[in-house]
Amino acid sequence: MTISIDPQKTNNESLQPKGWLRYFSFSLDHKVIGIQYLVCGFLFYLIGGTLASAIRIELASPMSDFMPRDVYNQVLTLHGTIMIFLWIVPVVNGAFGNYLIPFYVGARDMAFPRLNAVAFWLIPPSGLMLVASYFVEGAAQAGWTAYPPLSITTPQSGQIIWILSVLLLGGSSIFGGINFIATIIKLRRPGLKLMQLPMYCWAMLGTSLLVVLSTPVLAGTLILLSFDIIANTGFFNPVLGGNVVVYQHLFWFYSHPAVYIMVLPAFGLVSEILPVHARKPLFGYTTMVFSIMGIVVLGLVVWAHHMFTSGTPPWMRLFFTIATAFIAVPTGIKFFNWVATLWGGKISINSAMLFSCGFIVNFVFGGITGVALAQVPFDIHVHDTYFVVAHFHYIVYGGTVFIIFSSIYHWFPKVTGKMLNEKLGILHFIITFIGFNLCFAPQHWLGLNGMPRRVAEYDPQFQFVNQISSLGALLMAISTIPFLINVFLSVKNGKNAGDNPWNALTPEWLTSSPPPVENWEGEAPLVEEPYGYGKEISEQK
């Protein structure tokens, strides 16, 4: 049987609100849904960022004087949860995936447009619920990992809402994952081979496999956890015979892959952006594909490197250390491929390129500390100190968030038909880059010298370095201002972009900006070489 996918019909355009209003309505158009993901995620990012500033204000002085200790824990929990489940994951998967994947496979919409809309509309209510849970009696305060027994012994109404909203967000990401897998594998335009797909498709395929295989395990775990809280069962409660380490295993079986759910799409996006602005083909396409799949497989078997201090037996430590070290191989391949892509290219220095290069630099740093952390003796020394905080912020902020901004600069002209102001963009990059490194680099030192994470009070000897870090956080907060100004000014009266301002070859640039509802007039173009830049340059000569 065949199914008709005519966006004009499924969307019933005459009934849809026109102009910007349609971004606030229930739409089945993948482009609208993508933008909805982005804007919604960004609003939560502003909330999460405000909380981060509050954390850094508290830590500017050694005593717990800005907020009480339990409030600090609540703020920390809410910050971590929002940043991961409402900003990074939905934006880097949902927003860019929805916008770009149908273009890349030559389709007019996602495989399951309705499921797609459902996946998005789960996010705003559960996010609001999460934020609102802060105001109930006893907000969640066990961190974004919700480790028991803390999560079952602290006041509980907030923790229950926390669980519920993470469950809903998990459901949203599973639906999204199913949709991406079906779209990439099944919905390709006839004649388009898998090995001709732009790299972001491969990254999203890998990510979605991880989502489908690991998110349900988190869901099951949280259901058991909620039983412990509501029904007084003892799955994870040692007092009742339960086992906290089982929780950690199950939790990290999701949350280690989750770091790749956050960063693999960023790998894909940077692989789209670099060739365009360096005017060179992506170096080593095939090795890139295999390294993504290698990361998916290895990513699923290294979770216990988060548990070296939980009394894991020696054979387990050995196995997980080796497996983790192996992940450095495919990741390293990707790194060298990006550098080789830049090598000898006609590089244009613009905001998108700067953020992408910033990503490469920060990511290498975070990757190296990650390999260091996989070594048991070292990890036992710095576990639960600021070294870990520094490591994962180098990955999630220095990596993924940098790429989110890079992508916004790169695709803004396509989405709106307007250019962003380059001067403001470069200013944004400079403040972000300095602020970010000022904030998180010193935290390596703090961790090595023994400052524990997740506490509001610390030894006064750490005060000076903490103040530098807080200063960096302040810069990061400020950096949002030029970005927001830029977006608002450009949407209102930016320079017209034309259909293909970067002279890019990937399919989304072969339609008008902004694209029509059905993506193309007539038939989808078949792009056999999405990175054929060398050729194009020689043709021009």
């Binding site: 049987m1 919905l187 058991l224 015979g241 038939e523 792009v527």
Partner: protein, 200 residues
């Protein structure tokens, strides 16, 4: 540009935007069932770990009775077969036959649930008695939830084929095939569960 080619592969009316593609809802369903299976895998892994590293103190060990779960296993296996019959009948356009088989399958599902409840009421332990008891109820309860959902879906498609013989035909097998796949999946999980929980 050399990279552009919009003519060769598809021959179709260019002015028309309406496109059709093959039906891959089944593909989506399979992906979903893999995800669902991972939830069970997590539960099984937790159960087996508890069994290995948190043995119950003496006196708290319960022997599970086998008759009811064995009967339930047979019920589910038979129901998989009767569901298959329903599909076969529909394929031959024997709508009313197909409908009878569907309702019989749902009936077996309901008997399964009743047996499970009966077992629950006669077990010597409750949800919070100890770790084993909690895990037992979590596993069987989560599976029972799946059986309940499956039974409801069977009833719905059976009912749909009744009120307007057009909803479920040999031309539109998808609802039946989807629920059938789901049902076989739930059966398969039960067999694993039966082995791990009752026999090991």
């Amino acid at each position: 540009m050399t990279t552009l080619d919009s003519s060769k592969e598809i021959q179709k009316n260019n002015s028309e935007v309406n496109e059709t593609h093959e039906d891959f809802r089944m593909f989506g369903l399979i992906t979903f069932l893999i995800a669902d299976g991972m939830t069970f895998a997590g539960f099984f892994a937790a159960y087996l770990t508890y069994k290995a590293v948190n043995p119950l103190p003496d006196g708290a060990i319960y022997e599970l009775e086998l008759p009811i779960p064995t009967l339930n296993t047979i019920l589910l296996l038979v129901s998989s077969a009767t569901f298959h019959k329903a599909g076969k009948a529909l394929l031959k356009d024997k709508n009313s036959d197909s409908q009878k088989w569907l309702f019989f399958t749902a009936f077996l599902g309901i008997i399964f649930l009743i047996c499970q409840l009966f077992e629950y009421f006669h077990l010597p332990f409750g949800l919070t008695d100890n770790l084993f008891a909690s895990t037992f109820y979590a596993l069987t309860g989560f599976h029972g939830l799946h059986v309940t959902l499956g039974t409801l879906m069977i009833l719905i498609i059976g009912w749909q084929s009744r009120i307007n013989g057009g909803r479920l035909t040999s031309q539109n097998m998808f609802p039946l095939e989807a629920v059938e796949l789901y049902w076989h999946f739930v059966d398969g999980i039960w067999v694993v569960l039966f082995i791990i929980l009752y026999l090991l």
